[in-house]
């Protein structure tokens, strides 16, 4: 094996190779120049593409209607009149003459009246929510202001802020109608549609029938 330098002396190199080197160097130079212009040169403003549409944010033309409770509750006497209609009484029928007992609390059995009322909602006193000064025809906010029964959600929101916040942003409470309020309205449930104010925990329900398709087939325990 030869130990000599295999490359011929510079003088002996064919001129074609020298030319190739020059061309290569020139190419590298051009590439660097292009790269420098691209990196540090004037910034070109990108033209908005015609395909990208602006977000669709239509003006609402229809309202979001929150269902309201019927108003002050009525007392069902259990008696039927001559026409077979059940006889009901307004709260005030009794409460205009009888002072409510401020010590009464939900979850504690009542000695007189409301014996059937059972529930669990913290350790709330009746007068925490019911306004005894207006013969119980209204609700009472924590600061003592009177509140009509139809506006019950305000009362609930005093303690259940996170739920109310979610509700206001459509992330709590059943609804139906249109997501696009420029095409149609929406109705929403209120708190007491689903939660009994005296026992607010959502009551268990029997689920609808499951599908029996193959994909949902029960595991047969095959290996």
């Amino acid at each position: 094996m030869s130990v000599e330098d295999p490359s011929p002396p510079a003088a002996a190199r064919p001129p074609g190779r020298l030319l190739a080197r020059f061309v290569l160097l020139a190419l590298v130079g051009v590439a660097l120049a292009v790269g420098a212009v691209a990196a540090f040169g004037p910034v070109r403003v990108a033209r908005p593409s015609a395909e990208v549409a602006l977000p669709y944010t239509p003006e609402p033309k229809f309202a979001v209607e929150i269902r309201k409770p019927a108003g002050p509750p009525v007392f069902h006497t259990g008696i039927k009149d001559a026409n077979g209609k059940s006889v009901t009484m307004a709260c005030a029928e009794c409460h205009k003459t009888r002072e409510p007992n401020a010590a009464n609390r939900l979850g504690r059995p009542m000695a007189f009246f409301h014996q059937a009322l059972k529930g669990q909602h913290g350790n709330l006193a009746c007068v925490a929510c019911h306004n005894s000064t207006e013969a119980n025809a209204s609700l009472r906010l924590a600061d003592g202001t009177s509140l009509p029964y139809t506006e019950v959600m305000q009362l609930c929101a005093q303690c259940h802020g996170p739920q109310y916040r979610s509700y206001q942003h459509g992330a709590h409470g059943g609804m139906a109608g249109y997501w696009d309020l420029s095409k149609g309205g929406r109705t929403r449930a209120n708190c007491v549609d689903c939660h009994n104010p005296h026992a607010p925990k959502y009551q268990p329900v029997q689920p609808a029938r499951a599908t029996n398709d193959r994909g949902a087939a029960k595991e047969t325990g095959h290996e």
Binding site: P55, T57, H169, G170, H172, Y178, P204, A210, R214, A216
Partner: protein, 311 residues
């Protein structure tokens, strides 16, 4: 050279070996050909020439679409005895749909699955639905311990409920798996199937990590008075036998501004739907303010369906 051997065959009489082989091969050939063209003799009114020659949905002109829809409406009348209207609402520019589900308030009542069953003209005997609700053990998200066949009052103690339907992935494995491009993502993000183009190979079903696709093993059975007449070509029209189907976010409803049927059926309001591009939309508020997550994030499917807990 000896004399060629002669065979005595019925009808043909005495023939040589070569002729006998030719005759045998010809008989086999004719039989095979008859078997091959046999489906053509089973051509019925259900198999329509126009439908057979129909182009891909995305290549149809408006007039061709109308002709297809009218034909499908006649078909529904003939096969199901129902007067249906098939429409094709187009995607709205500037709209990208997304869905979020609040696992803290879902009670597992399956009303969403039931509403889907009714809205999307699912097969009655199998009680099919695009939504499967899993009863999950609190403390983790382990579908192996989940059960979608529960039949007891809900919510049960120590359980939570996880409805799973098509996640309308931005990077949908099912779309990539389809060998005939019968399924694709629309510009508003809804992954749809052209039931007239689908060949029923079920590759997409195998590709979907969420088991969200269903196959029509049989022709769906629906009584005439239960058929939902408000139908979309790409969504809830009654699917033929042998094709894939899936949740379309109720495309025929949402592209007209309405909520999906599953959302309206939800009694607790666990479901949130809307246009993510609208900064004031409910869905946007949820994505911005709740700690949302997606199923099987590690697969890189980029679902448009999000889950969250309140706490």
């Amino acid at each position: 050279m000896s004399e060629p051997k002669k065979f005595a065959l019925p009808v043909l009489g005495e023939v040589d070996r070569r002729t006998a082989l030719k005759a045998g091969a010809a008989t086999l050939g004719v039989t095979a050909w008859a078997a091959a063209i046999q489906p053509w003799f089973e051509w019925t009114t259900e198999l329509n020439v126009d439908e057979f020659l129909q182009k891909h949905y995305r290549e149809l002109t408006a007039e061709q679409k109308l002709a297809v829809f009218r034909h499908l409406e006649e078909d529904a009348k003939k096969q199901y005895g129902a007067d249906v209207h098939i429409s094709d609402p187009l995607p709205l520019p500037g709209v990208q749909y997304a869905y979020a589900l609040n696992l803290s308030i879902c009670i597992g009542c399956r009303k969403c699955a039931e509403a889907c069953h009714v809205e999307n003209n699912h097969d009655r005997p199998t009680h099919q639905s695009y939504i499967r609700v899993f009863e999950m053990q609190k403390g983790g998200i382990d579908f192996a311990k989940g059960d979608c066949h529960y039949d007891h009052p809900v919510p049960a103690p120590d359980k939570y409920y996880m409805p799973v339907q098509c996640q309308h992935c931005e990077n949908a494995p099912c779309v990539k798996a389809c060998p005939v491009e019968a399924t694709w993502a629309e510009p508003d993000g809804i992954v749809v199937v052209d039931y007239n183009w689908c060949i029923g190979c079920r590759y997409c079903e195998a590709a979907c990590p969420y088991h969200a696709r269903r196959f029509n093993w049989q022709k769906p059975e629906i009584p005439a008075d239960e058929v939902n007449p408000n139908q979309g070509y790409l969504s809830n029209r009654v699917r033929p036998q042998g094709v894939m189907e899936k949740c379309t976010f109720c495309l025929h409803r949402v592209r007209e501004g309405r909520m999906p049927a599953c959302l309206e059926a939800c009694p607790t309001g666990a479901r949130v739907f809307g246009n993510v591009l609208d900064p004031d939309s409910e869905i946007r508020w949820v994505l911005d303010n709740k700690r949302v997550f997606v199923l099987k994030e590690e697969l890189g499917t980029k679902p448009r369906f999000f889950y969250f807990f309140d706490k």
